[in-house]
Amino acid sequence: MIGGLDFSVVRDNLSYFFIGRYPKGPLGGVGLTLYLAVVSLALSFIGGLILGLLSVSRNRLLRYGSMAAIQTIRGMPLLMVIFWMFFLLPAMLGGGMTASWTIIVALTLFTSAYMSEIVRAGITGIPKGQMEAAISTGLSHGQAMIHIILPQALRNMIPSFVNQFVSMIKDTSLAFIVGVSELTQIATQINNRTMLYPTEIFIFIAVIYFIICFAFTELSRWLERRLAYRKAI
Protein backbone atom coordinates (compact mmCIF):
# COMPACT_ATOMS: atom_id res chain seq x y z
CA MET A 1 0.00 0.00 0.00
CA ILE A 2 1.36 3.40 -1.00
CA GLY A 3 -0.68 6.42 0.08
CA GLY A 4 -3.89 4.41 0.08
CA LEU A 5 -3.16 2.95 -3.33
CA ASP A 6 -2.90 -0.79 -3.80
CA PHE A 7 -0.34 -1.77 -6.43
CA SER A 8 -0.79 -5.51 -5.96
CA VAL A 9 -2.79 -5.53 -9.19
CA VAL A 10 0.36 -4.42 -10.95
CA ARG A 11 2.51 -6.97 -9.20
CA ASP A 12 0.10 -9.79 -9.99
CA ASN A 13 0.05 -8.92 -13.68
CA LEU A 14 3.65 -7.83 -14.07
CA SER A 15 4.66 -10.20 -16.84
CA TYR A 16 1.40 -9.50 -18.65
CA PHE A 17 2.22 -5.78 -18.56
CA PHE A 18 5.68 -6.33 -19.91
CA ILE A 19 5.36 -9.09 -22.50
CA GLY A 20 1.66 -9.97 -22.80
CA ARG A 21 1.07 -13.69 -23.31
CA TYR A 22 4.56 -14.25 -24.65
CA PRO A 23 6.13 -16.85 -25.02
CA LYS A 24 2.94 -18.98 -25.02
CA GLY A 25 1.04 -16.40 -27.04
CA PRO A 26 1.87 -13.26 -29.02
CA LEU A 27 4.12 -10.56 -27.65
CA GLY A 28 2.23 -7.74 -25.91
CA GLY A 29 2.57 -4.95 -23.37
CA VAL A 30 5.82 -2.98 -23.10
CA GLY A 31 7.51 -5.46 -25.41
CA LEU A 32 5.01 -4.84 -28.18
CA THR A 33 5.08 -1.10 -27.59
CA LEU A 34 8.85 -1.10 -28.08
CA TYR A 35 8.57 -3.41 -31.06
CA LEU A 36 6.01 -1.15 -32.76
CA ALA A 37 8.09 1.92 -31.97
CA VAL A 38 11.44 0.53 -33.09
CA VAL A 39 10.15 -0.99 -36.34
CA SER A 40 8.18 2.15 -37.18
CA LEU A 41 11.19 4.27 -36.30
CA ALA A 42 13.50 2.35 -38.58
CA LEU A 43 11.00 2.51 -41.42
CA SER A 44 10.15 6.16 -40.93
CA PHE A 45 13.84 7.02 -40.77
CA ILE A 46 14.17 5.60 -44.25
CA GLY A 47 10.86 7.12 -45.35
CA GLY A 48 11.80 10.51 -43.89
CA LEU A 49 15.18 10.42 -45.57
CA ILE A 50 13.68 9.60 -48.95
CA LEU A 51 10.86 12.16 -48.66
CA GLY A 52 13.30 14.76 -47.30
CA LEU A 53 15.72 14.23 -50.18
CA LEU A 54 12.87 14.40 -52.67
CA SER A 55 11.70 17.65 -51.14
CA VAL A 56 15.09 19.27 -51.83
CA SER A 57 15.42 17.60 -55.23
CA ARG A 58 16.34 19.81 -58.18
CA ASN A 59 13.53 18.18 -60.15
CA ARG A 60 10.42 20.32 -59.70
CA LEU A 61 7.97 17.49 -60.16
CA LEU A 62 9.59 15.40 -57.44
CA ARG A 63 9.96 18.41 -55.19
CA TYR A 64 6.38 19.64 -55.41
CA GLY A 65 4.94 16.11 -55.41
CA SER A 66 6.74 15.11 -52.25
CA MET A 67 5.97 18.40 -50.54
CA ALA A 68 2.27 18.00 -51.31
CA ALA A 69 2.30 14.48 -49.85
CA ILE A 70 4.14 15.68 -46.74
CA GLN A 71 1.75 18.56 -46.13
CA THR A 72 -1.28 16.32 -46.63
CA ILE A 73 -0.11 13.83 -44.03
CA ARG A 74 0.92 16.57 -41.64
CA GLY A 75 -2.55 18.03 -41.92
CA MET A 76 -4.19 14.84 -40.61
CA PRO A 77 -4.56 13.68 -37.02
CA LEU A 78 -2.68 10.45 -36.41
CA LEU A 79 -5.88 8.75 -35.30
CA MET A 80 -7.35 9.38 -38.71
CA VAL A 81 -4.30 7.94 -40.46
CA ILE A 82 -4.72 4.84 -38.30
CA PHE A 83 -8.40 4.50 -39.22
CA TRP A 84 -7.59 5.03 -42.86
CA MET A 85 -4.99 2.29 -42.78
CA PHE A 86 -7.27 0.03 -40.76
CA PHE A 87 -10.02 0.18 -43.33
CA LEU A 88 -8.01 0.93 -46.45
CA LEU A 89 -5.11 -1.50 -46.27
CA PRO A 90 -7.19 -4.71 -45.99
CA ALA A 91 -9.33 -3.50 -48.88
CA MET A 92 -6.25 -2.75 -50.94
CA LEU A 93 -4.27 -5.83 -50.03
CA GLY A 94 -7.26 -8.16 -49.75
CA GLY A 95 -6.87 -8.74 -46.02
CA GLY A 96 -3.95 -10.56 -44.48
CA MET A 97 -2.65 -7.53 -42.67
CA THR A 98 -2.26 -7.91 -38.92
CA ALA A 99 -3.40 -5.07 -36.68
CA SER A 100 0.21 -4.54 -35.58
CA TRP A 101 1.33 -3.98 -39.13
CA THR A 102 -1.57 -1.64 -39.75
CA ILE A 103 -0.26 0.44 -36.90
CA ILE A 104 3.32 0.22 -38.12
CA VAL A 105 2.29 1.40 -41.58
CA ALA A 106 0.22 4.25 -40.13
CA LEU A 107 2.97 5.35 -37.73
CA THR A 108 5.58 5.11 -40.49
CA LEU A 109 3.54 7.19 -42.89
CA PHE A 110 2.76 9.77 -40.25
CA THR A 111 6.24 10.01 -38.77
CA SER A 112 8.00 9.95 -42.16
CA ALA A 113 6.22 13.19 -43.01
CA TYR A 114 7.57 14.84 -39.87
CA MET A 115 11.01 13.27 -40.24
CA SER A 116 11.24 14.54 -43.80
CA GLU A 117 10.82 18.08 -42.55
CA ILE A 118 13.68 17.49 -40.13
CA VAL A 119 15.79 16.07 -42.94
CA ARG A 120 14.98 18.99 -45.20
CA ALA A 121 15.82 21.54 -42.52
CA GLY A 122 19.01 19.63 -41.77
CA ILE A 123 20.11 19.65 -45.39
CA THR A 124 19.25 23.28 -46.08
CA GLY A 125 20.98 24.20 -42.81
CA ILE A 126 24.38 23.15 -44.14
CA PRO A 127 26.16 26.23 -45.56
CA LYS A 128 25.93 26.29 -49.34
CA GLY A 129 29.71 26.58 -49.62
CA GLN A 130 29.92 22.90 -48.66
CA MET A 131 28.00 21.77 -51.73
CA GLU A 132 29.91 24.26 -53.89
CA ALA A 133 33.26 23.03 -52.61
CA ALA A 134 32.28 19.42 -53.18
CA ILE A 135 30.99 19.84 -56.74
CA SER A 136 33.98 22.06 -57.53
CA THR A 137 36.23 19.05 -57.02
CA GLY A 138 34.19 17.20 -59.63
CA LEU A 139 31.84 15.24 -57.37
CA SER A 140 28.33 14.90 -58.73
CA HIS A 141 25.44 16.46 -56.85
CA GLY A 142 24.47 13.02 -55.53
CA GLN A 143 27.98 12.12 -54.40
CA ALA A 144 28.30 15.46 -52.64
CA MET A 145 24.99 14.80 -50.90
CA ILE A 146 26.10 11.37 -49.70
CA HIS A 147 29.66 12.16 -48.63
CA ILE A 148 29.51 15.80 -47.58
CA ILE A 149 26.02 17.11 -46.88
CA LEU A 150 24.16 14.17 -45.31
CA PRO A 151 26.86 13.14 -42.81
CA GLN A 152 26.91 16.67 -41.45
CA ALA A 153 23.15 17.13 -41.62
CA LEU A 154 22.33 13.81 -39.95
CA ARG A 155 24.50 14.66 -36.95
CA ASN A 156 22.67 17.93 -36.50
CA MET A 157 19.36 16.11 -36.79
CA ILE A 158 19.88 13.63 -33.95
CA PRO A 159 18.08 15.67 -31.27
CA SER A 160 15.06 16.26 -33.51
CA PHE A 161 14.99 12.61 -34.52
CA VAL A 162 14.94 11.58 -30.89
CA ASN A 163 12.12 14.02 -30.13
CA GLN A 164 10.20 12.46 -32.96
CA PHE A 165 10.94 8.98 -31.70
CA VAL A 166 9.84 9.84 -28.20
CA SER A 167 6.52 11.14 -29.49
CA MET A 168 6.21 8.01 -31.56
CA ILE A 169 6.59 5.79 -28.48
CA LYS A 170 3.71 7.68 -26.95
CA ASP A 171 1.74 7.53 -30.20
CA THR A 172 1.89 3.73 -30.19
CA SER A 173 -0.68 3.91 -27.39
CA LEU A 174 -3.26 4.79 -30.05
CA ALA A 175 -2.87 1.24 -31.32
CA PHE A 176 -5.20 0.12 -28.54
CA ILE A 177 -8.05 1.55 -30.62
CA VAL A 178 -7.66 -1.14 -33.23
CA GLY A 179 -7.10 -3.84 -30.63
CA VAL A 180 -3.32 -4.23 -30.70
CA SER A 181 -2.29 -5.49 -27.28
CA GLU A 182 0.46 -3.00 -26.56
CA LEU A 183 0.95 -1.43 -23.14
CA THR A 184 -2.14 0.81 -23.10
CA GLN A 185 -4.39 -1.93 -24.41
CA ILE A 186 -3.11 -4.36 -21.79
CA ALA A 187 -3.70 -1.77 -19.11
CA THR A 188 -7.24 -1.22 -20.34
CA GLN A 189 -7.86 -4.97 -20.38
CA ILE A 190 -6.59 -5.48 -16.86
CA ASN A 191 -8.59 -2.53 -15.70
CA ASN A 192 -11.75 -3.88 -17.30
CA ARG A 193 -11.14 -7.24 -15.69
CA THR A 194 -10.47 -6.01 -12.15
CA MET A 195 -12.46 -2.77 -12.20
CA LEU A 196 -11.04 -1.73 -8.82
CA TYR A 197 -7.64 -0.16 -9.43
CA PRO A 198 -7.75 2.22 -12.42
CA THR A 199 -5.57 4.81 -10.65
CA GLU A 200 -2.86 2.33 -9.78
CA ILE A 201 -2.83 0.81 -13.25
CA PHE A 202 -2.65 4.08 -15.12
CA ILE A 203 -0.07 5.56 -12.79
CA PHE A 204 2.03 2.49 -13.43
CA ILE A 205 1.88 2.71 -17.21
CA ALA A 206 2.51 6.46 -17.09
CA VAL A 207 5.72 5.71 -15.19
CA ILE A 208 6.68 3.07 -17.73
CA TYR A 209 6.15 5.46 -20.66
CA PHE A 210 8.16 8.07 -18.84
CA ILE A 211 11.06 5.71 -18.16
CA ILE A 212 11.22 4.56 -21.79
CA CYS A 213 11.11 8.09 -23.17
CA PHE A 214 13.61 9.33 -20.62
CA ALA A 215 15.99 6.50 -21.43
CA PHE A 216 15.90 7.29 -25.14
CA THR A 217 16.42 10.99 -24.55
CA GLU A 218 19.48 10.22 -22.45
CA LEU A 219 20.72 7.83 -25.09
CA SER A 220 20.52 10.59 -27.67
CA ARG A 221 22.44 13.02 -25.47
CA TRP A 222 25.16 10.44 -25.17
CA LEU A 223 25.13 9.82 -28.91
CA GLU A 224 25.31 13.53 -29.62
CA ARG A 225 28.35 13.94 -27.39
CA ARG A 226 30.06 10.99 -29.00
CA LEU A 227 29.47 12.30 -32.50
CA ALA A 228 30.27 15.94 -31.76
CA TYR A 229 33.04 17.35 -33.89
CA ARG A 230 36.28 17.93 -32.13
CA LYS A 231 36.17 21.52 -31.12
CA ALA A 232 38.98 23.97 -31.68
CA ILE A 233 41.67 23.66 -29.07
Binding site: P127, G129, S136, T137, G138, Q152
Partner: protein, 244 residues
Protein backbone atom coordinates in the same frame (compact mmCIF):
# COMPACT_ATOMS: atom_id res chain seq x y z
CA UNK B 1 42.63 27.85 -72.04
CA UNK B 2 39.71 30.01 -70.99
CA UNK B 3 37.83 32.16 -73.45
CA UNK B 4 34.89 34.47 -72.75
CA UNK B 5 33.09 35.72 -75.83
CA UNK B 6 30.40 38.33 -75.26
CA UNK B 7 29.33 36.77 -71.97
CA UNK B 8 26.35 38.21 -70.09
CA UNK B 9 24.83 37.22 -66.80
CA UNK B 10 21.86 38.57 -64.89
CA UNK B 11 20.62 38.00 -61.36
CA UNK B 12 16.97 38.84 -62.00
CA UNK B 13 17.23 42.41 -63.28
CA UNK B 14 20.78 42.97 -62.05
CA UNK B 15 23.23 42.87 -64.94
CA UNK B 16 26.26 41.32 -63.15
CA UNK B 17 28.33 40.44 -66.19
CA UNK B 18 28.04 42.78 -69.13
CA UNK B 19 29.64 41.69 -72.38
CA UNK B 20 32.77 40.02 -71.00
CA UNK B 21 35.50 39.25 -73.52
CA UNK B 22 38.58 37.66 -72.08
CA UNK B 23 41.17 35.15 -73.11
CA UNK B 24 43.42 33.48 -70.56
CA UNK B 25 46.25 31.42 -71.98
CA UNK B 26 47.70 28.26 -70.55
CA UNK B 27 50.23 29.05 -67.80
CA UNK B 28 49.02 32.59 -67.41
CA UNK B 29 48.39 34.18 -64.01
CA UNK B 30 45.62 36.75 -64.04
CA UNK B 31 44.60 38.88 -61.09
CA UNK B 32 41.08 40.30 -61.05
CA UNK B 33 40.36 43.35 -58.93
CA UNK B 34 37.65 45.95 -58.65
CA UNK B 35 35.18 47.44 -56.19
CA UNK B 36 32.80 45.32 -54.15
CA UNK B 37 29.82 44.11 -56.16
CA UNK B 38 31.51 44.65 -59.51
CA UNK B 39 31.06 40.99 -60.48
CA UNK B 40 34.52 39.51 -59.77
CA UNK B 41 33.24 36.46 -57.90
CA UNK B 42 30.52 35.89 -60.45
CA UNK B 43 33.12 36.07 -63.23
CA UNK B 44 35.31 33.29 -61.89
CA UNK B 45 32.35 31.23 -60.68
CA UNK B 46 31.09 31.03 -64.26
CA UNK B 47 34.31 29.27 -65.26
CA UNK B 48 33.40 26.09 -63.38
CA UNK B 49 29.69 26.66 -63.89
CA UNK B 50 28.87 27.43 -60.27
CA UNK B 51 27.06 30.33 -61.93
CA UNK B 52 25.74 29.49 -65.40
CA UNK B 53 25.95 32.27 -67.96
CA UNK B 54 22.86 33.63 -69.72
CA UNK B 55 24.32 34.84 -73.00
CA UNK B 56 27.50 34.57 -75.02
CA UNK B 57 30.04 31.81 -75.16
CA UNK B 58 32.43 30.46 -72.57
CA UNK B 59 35.08 27.97 -73.63
CA UNK B 60 37.20 26.19 -71.05
CA UNK B 61 39.98 23.94 -72.31
CA UNK B 62 38.28 23.91 -75.69
CA UNK B 63 34.88 22.86 -74.37
CA UNK B 64 31.75 24.97 -74.50
CA UNK B 65 30.16 25.17 -71.05
CA UNK B 66 26.67 25.89 -72.38
CA UNK B 67 26.83 22.83 -74.62
CA UNK B 68 24.50 20.14 -73.25
CA UNK B 69 27.03 17.50 -74.27
CA UNK B 70 29.78 18.92 -72.07
CA UNK B 71 30.18 16.81 -68.92
CA UNK B 72 30.22 19.52 -66.27
CA UNK B 73 31.35 17.25 -63.44
CA UNK B 74 34.32 16.14 -65.51
CA UNK B 75 35.13 19.75 -66.38
CA UNK B 76 35.04 20.75 -62.73
CA UNK B 77 37.48 18.00 -61.80
CA UNK B 78 40.01 19.78 -64.02
CA UNK B 79 39.52 23.11 -62.30
CA UNK B 80 40.54 23.77 -58.71
CA UNK B 81 38.51 26.35 -56.83
CA UNK B 82 39.61 28.05 -53.63
CA UNK B 83 36.97 29.96 -51.68
CA UNK B 84 37.23 32.99 -49.48
CA UNK B 85 35.66 30.99 -46.62
CA UNK B 86 37.85 27.88 -47.23
CA UNK B 87 34.81 25.55 -47.16
CA UNK B 88 36.73 22.58 -45.83
CA UNK B 89 34.55 19.65 -44.82
CA UNK B 90 34.30 19.97 -41.03
CA UNK B 91 33.39 16.32 -40.42
CA UNK B 92 36.48 14.96 -42.17
CA UNK B 93 40.15 15.06 -41.27
CA UNK B 94 42.60 17.11 -43.32
CA UNK B 95 43.73 13.97 -45.08
CA UNK B 96 40.19 12.87 -45.96
CA UNK B 97 39.35 16.38 -47.14
CA UNK B 98 42.07 15.97 -49.73
CA UNK B 99 41.61 12.30 -50.66
CA UNK B 100 37.81 12.23 -50.95
CA UNK B 101 37.57 13.40 -54.54
CA UNK B 102 40.70 11.64 -55.77
CA UNK B 103 39.37 8.34 -54.45
CA UNK B 104 35.82 8.83 -55.73
CA UNK B 105 36.62 10.38 -59.08
CA UNK B 106 40.19 9.51 -59.99
CA UNK B 107 39.64 6.05 -58.50
CA UNK B 108 42.92 6.10 -56.62
CA UNK B 109 43.37 3.45 -53.96
CA UNK B 110 43.36 4.77 -50.41
CA UNK B 111 47.09 4.20 -50.17
CA UNK B 112 47.90 6.09 -53.38
CA UNK B 113 45.47 8.86 -52.54
CA UNK B 114 47.01 9.31 -49.09
CA UNK B 115 50.51 9.28 -50.44
CA UNK B 116 49.61 11.96 -52.94
CA UNK B 117 47.81 13.96 -50.25
CA UNK B 118 50.90 13.82 -48.04
CA UNK B 119 53.06 15.11 -50.88
CA UNK B 120 50.67 18.04 -51.26
CA UNK B 121 50.52 18.65 -47.51
CA UNK B 122 54.31 18.87 -47.49
CA UNK B 123 54.13 21.31 -50.37
CA UNK B 124 51.80 23.61 -48.41
CA UNK B 125 53.84 23.06 -45.26
CA UNK B 126 51.32 21.12 -43.18
CA UNK B 127 52.27 17.42 -43.17
CA UNK B 128 51.86 17.18 -39.39
CA UNK B 129 48.19 18.21 -39.62
CA UNK B 130 47.05 15.18 -41.59
CA UNK B 131 44.80 13.85 -38.85
CA UNK B 132 43.53 17.19 -37.56
CA UNK B 133 40.00 18.38 -38.16
CA UNK B 134 39.48 21.75 -39.88
CA UNK B 135 38.21 23.35 -36.68
CA UNK B 136 41.59 22.66 -35.09
CA UNK B 137 43.44 24.71 -37.70
CA UNK B 138 44.03 28.44 -38.04
CA UNK B 139 42.49 30.26 -40.99
CA UNK B 140 45.77 30.33 -42.87
CA UNK B 141 46.27 26.62 -42.34
CA UNK B 142 42.72 25.87 -43.46
CA UNK B 143 43.22 27.84 -46.63
CA UNK B 144 46.46 26.01 -47.37
CA UNK B 145 44.64 22.69 -46.94
CA UNK B 146 41.92 23.98 -49.26
CA UNK B 147 44.58 24.72 -51.87
CA UNK B 148 46.01 21.23 -51.43
CA UNK B 149 42.50 19.80 -51.86
CA UNK B 150 42.14 21.69 -55.13
CA UNK B 151 45.56 20.56 -56.37
CA UNK B 152 44.89 16.91 -55.54
CA UNK B 153 42.80 16.54 -58.68
CA UNK B 154 45.82 17.67 -60.75
CA UNK B 155 43.78 20.49 -62.26
CA UNK B 156 44.72 22.42 -65.38
CA UNK B 157 43.35 25.63 -63.93
CA UNK B 158 43.21 27.02 -60.39
CA UNK B 159 40.66 29.69 -59.48
CA UNK B 160 40.92 31.73 -56.30
CA UNK B 161 38.12 33.93 -54.96
CA UNK B 162 39.67 36.36 -52.48
CA UNK B 163 41.65 33.59 -50.80
CA UNK B 164 43.18 35.87 -48.16
CA UNK B 165 40.35 38.29 -47.34
CA UNK B 166 38.99 36.19 -44.48
CA UNK B 167 42.43 35.84 -42.88
CA UNK B 168 44.10 37.69 -40.04
CA UNK B 169 46.92 39.82 -41.46
CA UNK B 170 49.68 37.66 -40.00
CA UNK B 171 48.40 34.62 -41.91
CA UNK B 172 48.08 36.22 -45.33
CA UNK B 173 51.76 35.76 -46.11
CA UNK B 174 51.82 31.99 -45.72
CA UNK B 175 48.89 31.55 -48.12
CA UNK B 176 50.30 33.99 -50.67
CA UNK B 177 53.62 32.15 -50.55
CA UNK B 178 51.91 28.88 -51.52
CA UNK B 179 50.13 30.69 -54.34
CA UNK B 180 53.34 32.29 -55.56
CA UNK B 181 55.08 28.92 -55.70
CA UNK B 182 52.12 27.59 -57.64
CA UNK B 183 52.23 30.50 -60.08
CA UNK B 184 55.94 29.97 -60.66
CA UNK B 185 55.33 26.28 -61.33
CA UNK B 186 53.39 27.28 -64.44
CA UNK B 187 49.82 26.75 -63.26
CA UNK B 188 47.09 28.64 -65.09
CA UNK B 189 45.55 30.83 -62.40
CA UNK B 190 42.81 33.39 -62.07
CA UNK B 191 42.93 35.12 -58.73
CA UNK B 192 40.36 37.57 -57.45
CA UNK B 193 42.37 39.55 -54.95
CA UNK B 194 43.27 42.96 -53.70
CA UNK B 195 46.76 41.81 -52.73
CA UNK B 196 48.61 44.14 -55.05
CA UNK B 197 52.01 42.86 -53.90
CA UNK B 198 51.10 39.44 -55.17
CA UNK B 199 49.73 40.90 -58.39
CA UNK B 200 52.89 42.90 -58.99
CA UNK B 201 55.22 39.99 -58.26
CA UNK B 202 53.71 37.03 -60.07
CA UNK B 203 50.77 38.03 -62.25
CA UNK B 204 51.05 38.47 -65.99
CA UNK B 205 47.96 40.56 -66.28
CA UNK B 206 45.62 42.56 -64.09
CA UNK B 207 41.96 42.92 -64.86
CA UNK B 208 39.98 45.74 -63.37
CA UNK B 209 36.23 45.21 -63.20
CA UNK B 210 33.51 47.73 -62.56
CA UNK B 211 29.73 47.33 -62.85
CA UNK B 212 30.02 43.95 -64.53
CA UNK B 213 32.41 45.01 -67.26
CA UNK B 214 36.15 44.67 -67.73
CA UNK B 215 37.19 48.29 -67.61
CA UNK B 216 40.91 47.81 -67.85
CA UNK B 217 43.30 45.04 -68.70
CA UNK B 218 47.07 45.45 -68.51
CA UNK B 219 50.35 43.94 -67.31
CA UNK B 220 50.93 44.86 -63.66
CA UNK B 221 53.68 47.47 -64.21
CA UNK B 222 51.51 49.30 -66.65
CA UNK B 223 48.37 49.03 -64.54
CA UNK B 224 50.06 50.40 -61.43
CA UNK B 225 52.08 53.12 -63.15
CA UNK B 226 49.55 54.33 -65.59
CA UNK B 227 45.92 53.31 -65.05
CA UNK B 228 43.72 54.56 -67.90
CA UNK B 229 40.34 55.04 -66.25
CA UNK B 230 39.41 57.36 -63.44
CA UNK B 231 37.60 54.52 -61.65
CA UNK B 232 40.77 52.44 -61.72
CA UNK B 233 42.89 55.36 -60.49
CA UNK B 234 40.45 55.96 -57.67
CA UNK B 235 40.39 52.28 -56.77
CA UNK B 236 44.18 52.04 -56.76
CA UNK B 237 44.53 55.13 -54.62
CA UNK B 238 42.14 53.65 -52.11
CA UNK B 239 43.70 50.25 -52.01
CA UNK B 240 47.32 51.37 -51.96
CA UNK B 241 46.84 54.14 -49.43
CA UNK B 242 48.75 53.51 -46.21
CA UNK B 243 45.50 54.02 -44.28
CA UNK B 244 43.97 50.98 -45.93
Amino acid sequence: MIRFEGVHKWFDKLHVLNNINLHVRSGEVVVVCGPSGSGKSTLIRTINDLEPINEGKLLVDGKDLSDKKTDINKMRAEIGFVFQQFNLYPHLTVLRNITLATMKIRNLSRKDAEEQAMTLLKRVGLPEKRDAYPSQLSGGQQQRVAIARGLAMKPKIMLFDEPTSALDPEMIGEVLQVMKDLALSGMTMIVVSHEMGFAREVSHRIIFMDFGTILEEAPPEEFFKNPQHDRAKQFLKQILSPMH
